[in-house]
Symmetry: C2
């Protein structure tokens, strides 16, 4: 093996304790999704290149695979040459649905937690390999709207169960925007959305000027567009505020009703650190959204931009004969956790699963210590036997360095009994390997949080409504 | 999206029910490893190419990454160009140990369950993307031998907990082979091992002839080598049989003692479908093994060759100053499960996690059905609400097609109560959403096995001792 090792930028790796945080989060997300009947799938990490590269901005970030020593031109022209690594979980899922449609029951409810790859410039929250958690519901030919409410609420509940800083689900609806613009008399809705999207970077009046210039809006129309985009509330009052702008349109009505249903349905599932809002500026750049859209932001980490997002797509996939509409939402596991771990907000309680270190009196006593360990394991208690019969003080320090809370002492002589020591308190008691258990909170490594309570106690108006 | 979809050879994907099998197996392996104090890690999927490509046979199977649209020569020469996808979990683990050594406690016990990639010709049990489960213990400078017994026994226990056809752990020891050959007077031990390895393909006398020709052995020496290689027993009698061959050597003694300890230590942990043997022909081609070696075979699936293997390496990794000895064993999750799933030996009990479908009387009653679902979920029961208020007969068939065992009927009118139907038996009973639970075996999808009992009841001599 070579001697010098330096980290690869954009390919973060976790030490064992931090990996505990990621595993517990993934396990909790999986539990939440499964409680709602979502089936887990994994897709292969590669797709034919023509399915990935669509001529968009992302194309140049796609990693393409080739074999190190291809067997010549014939092999080069083979399928290997055309494979790229997926850059999200939506493209492979759409392909999975098409490929396996004959074996799936629709509406098909799935979750998928896997890495994706993008050759972009690494920075905080942006990695070249990163893990995402996606939930989607896909129908064949049709998918009733109530699934929008359902899938968004599932993600609300799943994230509310995690120990995270305050999260804000900010919903909008493409029909609402489109209907409003149409009712207002603006024809190039797509360009209008693109201009409004600049409100984050440009002053409002600059944006208004561009609406006039580039979209052909009148100053009055531009003003209404700005007014719509600044509506942001945590209840259903947005409906009246939009109506007060005096625009009427059928699609607008439909969008308002859908957005109201999503906000209401999700609010009742929001608790803990999660809040739900209607934010009528949210558009999401991607063109395939056709109704509900959502972006998720994390308080104190606005610099990451959204930590999740998604929406409704009336044509997630199509084979020419059949169209598969879908609605779903994605949570950036790496994008969220890695900055929180780096900042010390989240940590694993220990780097090993062992709750108990079984001490070793001398090498000949290894079978006796192994028998204690076997008895503990038989009752589900993770443990390990000390690697060498050092002085007990050193064995205790061995446990300490690993965060193992208990050290077990088998009898050192005939007539003595077993003892177990909580090395944090120093308390040592007699114990039976076939009966003793640690308190539940010591059984497995857990996520330790720092500063989360303080954070969520801050006035939410400053943190969650930065406008 | 494009219209035609064909599977990618060598990149298998599982339908949801089959994915259940894989997930349950991975969860069970993880539980077993954690009970023994092994920490989970994941490594990034790419390594610098010079760490992967060592001039061996595997080099031409390595997948190399490049960005689809590299930003010109400067970018081309950058680190992206030098990245390859790992083809096993040992190379990345060795690099992880070196890179993070300052943050790890030794001996470091880890398990890792991840995919790996090889651009080889796809065939049964051989895929271009495949998942492996590895357990290893790594020391700094030294690693006492008892860890060999420990790590092998962990894998024995982990696999014995799985519903698999009979598995045979076949152990040998490199010191034993090397010491025997040395004591016999054969100088080119490596070449001798390579020739003996052909016993699977060539008649014994042919192999003996090659030992004479290529290794410079006398006919007598060649005969002894063959006699050693045919020793295969499920107990410690191999020690006397080797001694009876009349060769004496210190290293041989050490190897015999180590192999006896491994066989004895693992046999006491073997139960269910797992048996343990000493098979003195096992060498494992890879050069870095220095003591214990093991290959795992599955009865009825000898055509897959080994489904796992591993051993002791005195220099898993080295940075020039410090050497990290290790011992570990790898289990081929995809290699084992995909053929068993294809043969119908293993299947998932249902393709969805839901244990209950909550029926829907009419669309207005959706909140009432959702409330039942929420009550069930609050007590850990996975469920979903029917997507549309079809006739109950059709809702029951909807559940049936998904393998959901129970359908819940909320009260259709004032004064009525809740009812739940087991759609397999047809039995329908009154039930309280805050109290009713399905039997534990219906709560989650499980692994259904077919033919495993018959298989393990066959005489083991024919299946496990094919010689």
């Amino acid at each position: 093996m070579a001697t010098r090792i330096s980290p690869l930028s954009g390919f973060p790796e976790l030490l064992p304790a931090a990996r505990t945080v990621e595993r517990e989060v993934i396990a909790s997300l999986s539990r939440s999704f499964e409680l709602h009947g979502f089936a887990n799938i994994e897709t292969r990490v590669v797709e034919p290149l023509d399915r990935l590269a669509k001529g968009g901005e992302i194309d140049k970030e796609i990693y393409v695979l080739r074999r190190l020593q291809a067997d010549g031109p014939a092999d080069d022209a083979g399928p290997d040459k055309q494979l790229g690594m997926h850059f999200d979980l939506t493209v492979p899922f759409a392909r999975y649905v098409l490929e396996h449609a004959g074996h799936l029951e629709f509406p098909f409810r799935r979750f998928q937690i896997q890495p994706a790859w993008r050759g972009e410039r690494p920075q905080e929250g942006r990695y070249r390999q990163f893990t995402q958690a996606d939930v989607d519901i896909v129908g064949r030919d049709e998918l009733p709207f109530h699934h929008d409410v359902e899938v968004m609420r599932v993600m609300v509940e799943a994230l509310a169960a995690l120990p995270l800083p305050p999260l804000s689900f900010q919903f909008n609806n493409r029909k609402l925007i489109q209907g409003f613009y149409r009712g207002l008399g603006i024809s190039d809705v797509t360009e209008a959305i693109r201009v409004i999207d600049k409100l984050d970077k440009l002053p409002a009046q600059e944006v208004a000027a561009q609406l006039v210039e580039r979209v052909g809006a009148t100053p009055e129309q531009a003003q209404r567009c700005l007014e719509l985009a600044t509506i942001r509330v945590a209840d259903l009052s947005f409906v009246d505020r939009v109506r007060a702008l005096g625009v009427t349109d059928e699609l607008l009505d439909e969008g308002l009703a859908e957005l109201a249903a999503v906000v209401e349905g999700c609010s009742s599932g929001a608790h803990g650190s999660v809040t739900v809002e209607a934010n009528l500026r949210i558009a999401r750049g991607l063109d395939y959204y056709t109704g509900t859209v959502v972006e998720i932001f994390m308080a104190g980490y606005e610099r990451l931009k959204s930590v999740g997002g998604g929406g409704r797509y009336d044509a997630l996939a199509s084979d020419g004969r059949t169209t598969y509409p879908g609605v779903g939402v994605s949570f950036g596991v790496s994008r969220t956790l890695l900055p929180l771990i780096a900042d010390g907000v989240l940590a694993g309680s220990r780097p090993v699963p062992s709750a108990v270190l079984v001490a070793l009196t001398d090498e000949d006593a290894r079978p006796a210590s192994a028998a204690v360990a076997a008895a503990l394991r038989a009752r589900g208690i993770p443990c390990e036997v000390a690697p060498s019969p050092q002085k007990f003080g050193r064995q205790i320090r061995f446990a300490e360095r690993r965060g193992i809370p208990y050290v077990w002492f088998p009898p050192a002589a005939e007539g003595e009994g077993h003892q177990v020591k909580d090395i944090r308190s120093g308390e040592q008691v007699a114990a039976d390997p076939d009966a003793w258990s640690p308190p539940t909170e010591d059984l497995r490594p857990t996520i330790i949080t720092q500063g989360l309570e303080a954070r969520s106690a801050r006035p939410s108006t400053t943190e969650r409504h930065p406008q």
